[in-house]
């Protein structure tokens, strides 16, 4: 045992145990919760004890029996995602399947301080938008102002037509790109967010201090903050949870897409992949040369968002 661990253990058992369930006023946190270790520093026993406590706490707070797993990454797997932007119809079914699967906070009709969280944002962009110029503008030609393709600044985030897809429109869903070189991980002052061996960027919701530096650092606006306590109707809580994934978050911590770590580590597809009605979303193991994702990267026209930043996303957009 390292000296540091030994000191921690002594402190834990002698000083803290008798007051473990005392709660700090205002922030309403028990001493036991406050003194919890970083997830990666916990032994298997400690993880078990923490999971038991968390399940008990969620039961007290939300009245639901949940099952929190800590399933580790599989050997020889690095997850990748591909999205066919020619197929996407902008229906946002993925957005709401994600909310449900991952226990994201909903907007409460009764509580104005509730804060609605979506991990996926779908952008509507014009395939071609032309505003002819005038002589007075002195442009030289009358061709004018053109918008075509992926100009994020010209995108519409709150499009709401009767029916999708609309003519002349293209849709770009954006979620965490699971960068190989994630700027968010680099800036985190407490190592509360990191890249798992299967390439997924996760957050320890019990370690994050809520400084939001990662949100400033993310070029894809993929991270969300719990500005208040999450609000989820009891009957809508998904009880199948992962410690690093969809377990219910706390006020004041950051969260993000994990490619549904609670599903993918049990051999299932992410919820957004299953929800997509047009099969635009593809998911698989980047290390397997015969996987569908590798085939897409090999054979389709593929691009990644903001390649010039060198973040190396494992999220690929493609066209047929």
């Amino acid at each position: 045992m390292k000296r540091r661990d030994f000191i921690k253990k002594v402190v834990m058992t002698s000083a803290i145990a008798p007051v473990a369930s005392l709660r700090i006023p205002f922030v309403n946190v028990s001493i036991e919760e406050l003194t919890q270790k970083h997830f990666k520093e916990m032994s298997e026993e400690e993880k078990k004890a923490v999971i038991e406590r968390l399940e008990r706490e969620y039961k007290e707070r939300y009245g639901v029996d949940v099952n929190i797993k800590t399933t580790p990454a599989k050997e020889g797997v690095v997850w990748g995602y591909a999205l066919n932007i020619k197929r996407c119809i902008g229906c946002r079914r993925c957005v709401y399947a994600c909310v449900k699967e991952n226990n994201q906070s909903r907007a409460s009709p009764d509580d104005p301080t509730s804060n609605e969280i979506h991990w996926i944002r779908v952008l509507e962009v014009a395939q071609e938008k032309l505003e002819p110029g005038t002589e007075e503008q002195g442009i030289g030609t009358k061709f004018g102002d053109v918008v075509a393709g992926v100009v994020l600044e010209e995108s519409e985030h709150y499009y709401d037509p009767e029916k999708v897809p609309e003519d002349g429109k293209m849709y770009i869903p954006i979620q965490c790109q699971q960068c190989e070189k994630p700027p968010c991980v680099k800036v985190c002052p407490t190592r509360a967010t990191w890249k798992e061996p299967d390439g997924i960027i996760v957050v320890d919701y019990n370690w994050c201090i809520g400084c939001r530096y990662c949100m400033a650092a993310c070029p894809y606006w993929a991270r969300r903050f719990n500005w208040s306590w999450p609000y989820i109707p009891k009957e809508e809580i998904n009880p199948n949870q992962h410690y690093l994934g969809n377990r219910i978050r706390y006020r004041g911590v950051v969260e993000k897409c994990t490619f549904c770590i609670q599903r993918t580590r049990e051999g299932r597809y992410p919820a957004c992949v299953e929800a997509c009605p047009v099969g635009a979303r593809k998911f698989g193991n980047l290390l397997d040369p015969n996987s569908e994702i590798r085939k897409i990267i090999r054979e389709k026209r593929v691009f990644r968002l903001k390649e010039e930043l060198g973040t190396e996303p494992k999220f690929f957009y493609f066209m047929d």
Partner: protein, 418 residues
């Protein structure tokens, strides 16, 4: 052993005497303290409310995830750094005019750091977990995270600026000259001052996701704006002290003139760097000009105009240029009324620039192109007022002690006798 015990007794005497000096004064002094305490109480109340409900009580959201707190943090780190402008001329160039005002600078650094750090405390979502970033007990992401660097350099600087003047005052109180070892810390504090604002600039400059901040000019601009607004605030403090307290005879007009010239030169450099930034961004006119465009001209999207920061940006520029005009002309620079006006315009102008004008446009539009406007909530203003009042309160108490001892009005009964 006997010597150590005596030293401890003297030090305790010093502490008790300081408390007594800090808490005695005329009616004006008590009114000033009481109003500050009231603001601190209000701010604390608002902070507890925020702790219970979350940062939802602020105007921030996922689109603009840093706001008034981080703006204030940034500005006041600059104020803290500028103490070096009094320390360096005195100790490096033996500029004696600053001898009796050096503690104003050092304690201003302490007060500014207190404001900066309490603003960070107000901003984090989980304040009770801050120990996670401390060495030994936590898991600080060092050297990767600039926030860890910032916590280290800010706390180090706070320590230096408590130690140096505290030690000198203690020695003066017991009637002895300071030992030479303190010089090591004084010289250390000079580069350290530069480091705190450099690291704070690096927090922003290192983010490729935010082109508005991702510029090599960021740290030089931080230093320039700090070195103009810091002395400007210093001058305002000195003018107030000269007007209202017994300490007026120790503050020479020459010292104020020197500070005014420093303020002027640093402001000219600051405006020059701003010009470089504006030219590079707007002439090349890439897609990255969008944030700066938002700041100065506003943006239009789907027929709606977003220009909340436009008045702030132009007001700030106007204030900075006016302060230059007033400081350039010797007559207005040497007249204390116009000098005070110049310094107020300067400090507020930089507060707008290095506060909201720096932080908010970095988030607008979001990296995926959404335009969302931030306005601080009432709660944020109350909490910020509390943090500033807290800084001023500490500054007042410390200055009261320092100036009383420096003027020789409080000495240990046995001072100079042993």
């Amino acid at each position: 052993m006997k010597n150590i015990l005596r030293e401890i007794r003297y030090f305790l005497d010093f502490v008790f005497a300081s408390i007594k000096i800090a808490l005695t004064g005329d009616r004006r002094y008590y009114v000033w303290l009481a109003s500050l305490v009231m603001l601190v109480v209000l701010g604390t109340y608002a902070y507890i409310y925020q702790l219970m409900h979350g940062l939802i009580v602020t105007g921030m959201r996922d689109q603009v995830s840093w706001g008034l707190y981080i703006s204030n943090f940034t500005f006041f780190v600059g104020v803290a750094a500028s103490a070096v402008l009094i320390v360096a001329p005195l100790y490096l160039y033996n500029y004696r005019e600053f001898e009796y005002i050096v503690t104003f600078g050092e304690f201003l650094a302490v007060a500014a750091l207190i404001i900066a750090l309490t603003n960070v405390l107000a901003d984090v979502g989980r304040v009770e977990r801050l120990w996670h970033m401390f060495p030994l007990i936590g898991t600080p992401n060092w050297p990767d995270s600039m926030l860890v660097w910032d916590v280290l350099v800010l706390n180090g600087y706070l320590f230096l600026n408590l130690l140096i003047p505290g030690y000198k005052l203690y020695k003066k109180y017991i009637g002895l000259e300071p030992s030479n070892w303190i010089k090591f810390f004084i010289f250390l504090s000079i580069p350290w001052a530069i480091s705190i604002h450099t690291v704070t600039a690096f927090i922003y400059a290192g983010l490729s996701a935010r082109p508005y901040w991702n510029t090599a000019l960021m740290a030089p601009r931080f230093i320039a704006s700090a070195f103009t607004s810091g002395p400007a605030i210093m001058i305002l403090v000195l003018l107030v002290i000269r007007k209202y307290t017994f300490y007026r005879k120790y503050i020479s007009e020459k010292a104020i003139e020197t500070l005014a010239q420093i303020t002027l030169i640093a402001m000219l450099v600051n405006l020059f760097l701003l010009l470089s930034e504006l030219y590079t961004v707007f002439y090349s006119a890439t897609i990255h000009q969008v944030s700066l465009k938002y700041l100065f001209f506003g943006l239009e999207h789907n027929g709606k105009v977003y220009a909340a920061l436009k008045p702030i940006a132009w007001l700030s520029l106007f204030m900075q240029i006016t302060s230059v005009a007033l400081l350039l002309y010797p007559k207005t620079r040497r007249n204390f009324k116009t000098l005070a006006a110049a310094c107020s315009l300067n400090a507020i102008g930089i507060w707008l620039e290095k506060g909201m004008g720096l932080v908010v446009p970095g988030f607008v539009p979001t990296p995926i192109g959404e335009i969302w406007e931030y306005m601080p909530s009432f709660m944020e203003w109350v909490i910020v007022a509390g943090t500033v009042a807290w800084g001023f309160l500490v500054y007042t108490l410390m200055l009261k002690v320092a100036k009383t001892i420096e003027a020789g009005l409080a000495r240990h009964p046995k001072a100079g006798k042993e």
